[in-house]
């Protein structure tokens, strides 16, 4: 049974968002990592790239699968988690602390399209 962390916002495509001022910290849910299995590589954008809400910004890869990552918000990538380059398994080990990118959000109103922890838990049947 996968866990859903309280206090985060979730997208339909299983990304989570934690807001820190105007910055969205983005990762993937425990459900997403368990569906993938052992993650072997995280494809991340370049810092400075601009993303639209719903646009793909990278992918998770395992030995037998690949899953696109979609940005839950529009904005500019201000940081990528370099630790994941060497240790992509961090996402398997602790998906809610292994963030993938930080995005400076252009329109906070977009957050209202995301799900609460409770709504997301209901969606995945957790």
């Amino acid at each position: 049974m996968s866990t859903v962390k309280e206090g985060l916002l979730y997208s339909e495509s299983h990304e989570w968002v934690r807001m820190d001022g105007d910055v969205a910290i983005i990762g993937v849910s425990d459900f997403a990592q368990s569906e993938m299995g052992d993650i072997t590589y995280v494809d991340m954008p370049d810092e400075g790239d601009t993303l639209a809400q719903g646009e793909d910004f990278g992918a998770l890869e395992s030995v037998k699968a690949s899953s696109e990552l979609y940005s839950p918000v529009s904005g500019t990538v201000i940081a990528c988690n370099a630790e994941l380059e060497e240790a992509p398994q961090r996402i398997n080990q602790d998906p809610y602390s292994a963030w993938i990118i930080k995005v400076e959000v252009t329109d906070k109103a977009q957050l209202s399209a995301l799900m609460s922890a409770a709504a997301y838990a209901a969606k995945i049947g957790a």
């Binding site: 590589y41 790239d49 037998k64 699968a65 690949s66």
Partner: protein
């Protein structure tokens, strides 16, 4: 019923099998097919032949081809094939295996592909190579797609007009259906702008001239694009490698590595790149692994790039490589070694320069263009190029291949003997005399 040597079912076998299935005729196996679709009556095929008749039939067809002495290249080179190669590649454990999906019983295939990748890296100077693709021109297409996939929001590829015609043709075909837009340019570096994802330059151009690529990578990179170089892997044994020129991707056809001309195939395309582009490289890639006993072994790896996983998001639809031809190239390079490859290129260089000198002495050619070359060179005939080509054809030579500009190209490999070259020069002299009349 077992009259064909590879259909083992006897009448009795068929009955037993049908009984297990609970059917009474073979036809019932197709009971779900609407009746209007059955092909009634005979198929429009010849009557079945036995093995000896098949051999005779194909031999008769082969006899209708003319055996020519090859003094031409343009993407297919008549190098010698050491006997060891077909002796080993025809081993049925190699020949009748599928793609190495079950690595435990495919270590032979996986190991030689790893060796192939290593040798392609040694020749190109690159960090990573794949297990091969169909041929050189399709490798160039894959390189174009890699550039587009790696440079955000840019789709344009500039290909040098100096690329071989077969490469240009395939790049143009694919460009028509999307993925990248293509400009062919005689001077690609002058056309760089912020729409360009990649530039494809030849290492040796279609006239046979070796290209000095100094400054090219710097210019391409300054424009934010990637540089791919199309090369002859045999020549790379003595030429400055694409990586040393600063290129990001190296592609070409492995045919010059001892593969017979075979009317165009099978050959094998190769692709190599910098480590940073590793995950954009299409096709199969073999990597080293360890099994649970700690034994070194090899597996298909980085498969998340591929079509069976990415489906419509994959950057390429390629599944198979040209595995057996990659083995062919690997054995060839093992036999030749660094010394053999150098000597081979020396032989080509000497003979080609010798022939060019003698052809110029006949007085019916002008030298053009000037530039260092290895085995292939182009001359401007003072007579009609097509006439010359046909005249030589009648004398048993495939030589003086006319190009779009009315020039003719020649190619000399280590297979060409002094006697063959003497005969070619004599034929050209005869042509000069007859045409001069």
């Amino acid at each position: 019923m077992a009259r064909i040597p590879f259909f083992p079912h006897t009448q009795e076998d068929v009955s037993r099998m049908l009984e297990r299935i609970g059917l009474s005729s073979l036809k019932e196996l197709y009971a779900d097919v609407p009746p209007e679709f059955f092909h009634e009556g005979d198929y429009d095929l010849p009557s079945a032949l036995g093995e000896s008749e098949v051999r005779a039939d194909v031999e008769a067809l082969a006899a209708r081809n003319r055996k020519l002495i090859i003094f031409a290249g343009q993407g297919a080179y008549d190098h010698y094939t050491p006997t060891v190669i077909p002796a080993l590649t025809s081993r049925s454990e190699f020949q009748t295996a599928y793609t190495p999906y079950q690595c435990e019983i495919s270590q032979g295939t996986l190991r030689y592909i790893f060796e192939f990748q290593s040798m392609i890296c040694a020749l190109t100077g690159m960090d990573v190579a794949n297990a091969s693709v169909y041929d050189g021109p399709t490798a160039a297409v894959e390189a174009a797609r890699m550039c587009v996939a790696s440079v955000r929001r840019r789709k344009r590829i500039i290909a040098s007009g100096g690329l071989l015609p077969c490469v240009r043709k395939v790049l143009e075909t694919y460009a028509r259906y999307g993925g990248y837009s293509l400009s062919i340019s005689e001077n690609p570096l002058s056309e760089l702008d912020d729409s360009v994802a990649g530039v494809i330059l030849p290492s040796i151009d279609r006239t046979g001239c070796i290209c000095d690529l100094s400054g090219a990578a710097e210019a391409v990179h300054a424009a934010g694009a990637l540089l791919a170089v199309y090369c002859d892997p045999s020549a790379l044994a003595v030429l400055t490698s694409p990586a040393e020129w600063g290129a990001d991707i190296a592609v070409g056809d492995a045919q010059p590595l001892g593969m017979p001309l075979s009317y165009g195939g099978p050959y094998a395309g190769f692709m190599a790149c910098r480590e940073a582009l590793m995950r954009k490289l299409p096709g199969r890639i073999v990597g080293q692994a360890y099994d649970r006993e700690g034994r070194r072994c090899f597996v298909l790896t980085l498969q998340a790039r591929e079509q069976h996983i990415r489906r419509e998001k994959a950057t390429s639809n390629i599944c198979s490589n040209e595995s057996l031809m990659a083995l062919w190239a690997t054995i060839y390079l093992s036999l030749m070694g660094p010394e053999g490859m150098r000597e081979l290129n020396e032989a080509c260089y000497r003979s080609a320069h010798d022939l060019r000198g003698r052809l110029l002495s006949t007085g019916i050619f002008e030298a053009s263009p000037e530039g260092e070359f290895l085995k292939e060179f182009t001359l401007v005939p003072r007579r009609d190029a097509a006439h010359l080509h046909k005249f030589l054809l009648d004398k048993g030579f495939f030589a003086a291949l006319p190009d779009e500009e009315g020039r003719v190209s020649f190619c000399v490999t280590e297979r060409r003997t002094k006697a063959e070259m003497d005969a070619l020069v004599a034929a050209v002299e005869l042509f000069a005399k007859e045409e001069g009349r």
